[in-house]
């Protein structure tokens, strides 16, 4: 874990879970797996607080535990999982586009709470949806369950590993921590629940629908009196599946940009067909015959078989190697490398200028090139070219390859070739991304802290106005309250809001880059 990653994790944990969880989490990330007492001792926090923090972290899948010999339980933090927290809004929005509001809320609840039972999710989501509906209408549990089942079928939510059912013949004392197991087949198996009921509004919990049995009306504060039918079966959001979806989206849009809409549709069909058959990190999709593709094309595209074949040949012959010809399979990962290159290029464009990008592309194409040749091929004056080359070299985007002419490696008689290794350049860029997001978050926190007093004041005024409106106040009174915030203060608030929005949007954008770079690095490492 690099320093930049640790810093980012610490900021994320602190923002979402508070300082105590942050301290424990960062300590675990830094030092690897440790036991409870050691954590408490090293961080100097009381045992109870450590216990609480660890509970929260385990609940959210950020920390895993393992029973070692002599009954000691050791906890280990997953740094990469913490970094995923940046991407939560993107996951939720994707679900919204695929499964509308119901799906969106389901995934949101799962992400906010880490793990939940299906009945708990359904209940919460139904209540939330009922809140937003008009008076008198309620959300039926069945509809929510249906969406849940669909999410499970497409693998967007998965079951958490559960406690193994031990037979009663086990005489020894129960282990200090359960070893949770999960059967591959069961991961997406939805339990057969008959969840009857409707969503409830928060205020009037007495207005239940007539047909609802009394037993299914538990209060939220006390424990449920009757056992939940799917007790012990917890669900979590399947982040890998979302990543696969993002990747497919990126590939399809890249194809659409390069060629036309139809070819992108073809690629999308191919990807969709291999969605579930291929694991999320495979370098290639399963080979698909053109007949299968033809059959699975969406209805709107009635192109004949020959045209489809032509398109496939076109895709296969494309120098970017989207589609490989070995039995018409799809080369998913090649595209990722292309996308990464494009990203690197665009980052150059923004930082160094278009000429630098030209040089970069040239070196990429030629693989190894001498300094003099760079000037000639790129048609850039020598001085500028040298300057840019050295700048890129110093930033580690390029590397030098020495080829000595003489055995004594005299510098004046050695070839120096510039070359680009995408992997190291990608790593460098990724590191930079982490740093930039950490900076963005810090700046946002700083801005918020500076204007804390003003923010609190405006919140109070809003609360007052809201309550007065609820009790039916006059226009004049409302205006009086609003004037409690003076005009320059209002301006300040506006500026603050604009800045915070900008910073947030930048975070989201950088996160997209991070996703691309991370998946590229991951699949390249797998291929080697």
């Amino acid at each position: 874990m690099t320093q930049a990653e640790i810093k980012l994790c610490s900021l994320l944990l602190q923002e979402h879970f508070g300082e105590i969880v942050e301290k424990i989490g960062v300590h675990l990330i830094r030092t690897g797996s440790q036991s409870l007492r050691v954590i408490a001792h090293d961080t100097g926090t009381s045992l109870d607080q450590v216990k609480k923090a660890l509970c929260v972290l385990v609940q959210h899948n950020l920390v895993s535990y393992q029973v070692h010999k002599r009954g000691v339980v050791e906890y280990e933090a997953q740094c990469s999982r913490v970094l995923r927290m940046l991407r939560y809004p993107r996951y939720i929005y994707t679900t919204k586009t695929l499964y509308s509001d119901t799906g969106e809320l389901i995934v949101e609840e799962l992400l906010l709470n880490g793990k939940l039972t299906m009945s708990a999710v359904v209940k919460k989501v139904a209540d939330r949806l009922t809140e937003t509906m008009e008076d008198g209408k309620t959300m039926d549990y069945a509809e929510v369950s249906n969406t849940f089942v669909r999410l499970a079928d497409t693998h967007f939510v998965q079951r958490c590993p559960s406690v193994p059912t031990t037979e009663n013949s086990d005489p020894g004392p129960p282990p200090p921590a359960p070893t949770l197991v999960i059967n591959e087949k069961d991961m997406y198996l939805v339990p057969k629940l008959s969840l009857i009921g409707k969503g409830k509004r928060r205020r009037s919990s007495d207005e239940d629908a007539a047909g609802e049995p009394k037993a299914k009306r538990p209060k939220y504060t006390t424990d449920n009196k009757e056992p939940i039918p799917d007790d012990g079966i917890y669900w979590q959001a399947n982040l890998d599946r979302f990543h696969q979806h993002f990747r497919d989206q990126a590939i399809v849009s890249a194809v659409a940009n390069r060629m036309d809409q139809t070819s992108s549709e073809i690629v999308r069909t191919m990807l969709r067909m291999s969605e579930i058959t291929t694991s999320s990190s495979a370098p290639f999709t399963q080979p698909l015959s053109s007949n299968e593709i033809f059959r699975s094309l969406p209805v709107g595209y009635n192109i004949s078989k020959q045209v489809l074949d032509q398109y496939l040949t076109l895709l296969a012959d494309d120098p970017l190697e989207f589609v490989g010809k070995s039995g018409d399979s799809g080369g998913g990962m090649y595209v990722i490398s292309i996308l990464t290159t494009c990203h690197l290029l665009s980052s150059f464009l923004s930082r160094f200028g278009s000429r630098c990008a030209r040089i970069f592309r040239l070196v990429l194409q030629k693989k190894h090139i001498e300094q003099k040749q760079v000037e000639d091929f790129a048609m850039i004056p020598a001085k500028e070219a040298k300057d840019m080359l050295y700048k890129m070299l110093s930033e580690n985007f390029m590397s030098l390859q020495e080829i000595p002419k003489t055995p004594d490696h005299a510098p004046s008689r050695t070839f120096y070739l510039y070359t680009v290794t995408i992997l190291s350049a990608a790593r460098m860029l990724l590191h930079r991304c982490y740093k930039s997001i950490a900076n963005l978050i810090e700046r946002r926190q700083f801005e918020t802290k500076e204007n804390k007093r003003l923010l609190e004041k405006s919140q109070r005024v809003e609360a007052i106005i809201a309550s007065m409106q609820a009790t039916g106040a006059e226009e004049a009174q409302l205006q009086e309250i609003e004037e409690m915030i003076t005009a320059p203060e209002r301006q300040q608030l506006e500026t603050l809001k604009r800045n915070v929005n900008k910073l947030d949007a930048s975070e989201i954008q950088v996160d997209e880059t991070i996703f691309l770079l991370e998946s590229y690095i991951e699949c390249t490492m797998k291929r080697q």
């Binding site: 708990a120 040298k386 949007a505």
Partner: protein, 195 residues
């Protein structure tokens, strides 16, 4: 050592590589010497890529801010603990009230404190919720005490838990009863006679 020192003296100004290749030709002025540290925010030469805007961008933005706010309200957000108070320095009366409530609440609270590393996460969450509420009440309670306000709010269960956590002993605080409450307890309905 000797050769290096010698090289410096003899071949002054000569470098091992061909200077021209670097770009500093003969007679060209060297770049101006740097007299101060580079500016904190170097001037941006090129405009950055525009931020995502439009419906999708705004929706995701709103979602992000909403999530941030929502997570702070959830029970998973653990507030930092209240610092230890030195009871010797504060007026006694501020503590006694705590003790009195403690005695009433002991039997109810004890079963609620099994070890925290339980398997069932739902119970843990609810416990965290109640504990967090307790701590919130503790914080507000303590702050008011510190400011010396006179309002005696009858909120239950707060000091007990906090003191337990502070002291980290296995014994309940009231075990170390130093007899302060002896006179004050005559208000309660006690079955035994007081000698």
């Amino acid at each position: 050592m000797a050769s290096r020192g010698g090289g410096r003296g003899r071949g002054r100004g000569q470098l091992t590589f061909n200077v021209e290749a670097v770009g500093i030709g003969k007679g060209d002025a060297l770049p101006p010497p740097t007299l101060q540290p580079s500016p904190l925010f170097p001037p941006l030469e090129f405009r950055p890529v525009p931020l995502p805007s439009g419906e999708e961008g705004e929706y995701v933005l709103a979602l992000k801010q909403e999530l941030r706010g929502a997570m702070r309200q959830l029970p998973y957000f653990i507030r930092p603990a209240v610092p230890k108070r030195d009871w010797r320095r504060l007026p006694r009366e501020l503590k006694i009230r705590v003790r009195k409530l403690q005695k009433e609440r002991i039997t109810i609270l004890l079963p609620k404190r099994p070890p925290k590393t339980t398997e069932d996460k739902e119970e843990t969450i609810q416990k965290l919720e109640t504990l967090e509420k307790k701590e919130e009440e503790v914080t507000s309670e303590e702050d008011e005490e510190k400011e010396g306000e006179e309002e005696k709010e009858e909120e239950e269960e707060e000091e007990y838990d906090e003191e337990e956590h502070e002291e980290e002993t296995d014994y309940i605080m009231s075990y170390f009863d130093n007899g302060e409450d002896f006179g004050g307890d005559s208000d309660d309905n006690m079955d035994e006679a007081i000698y």
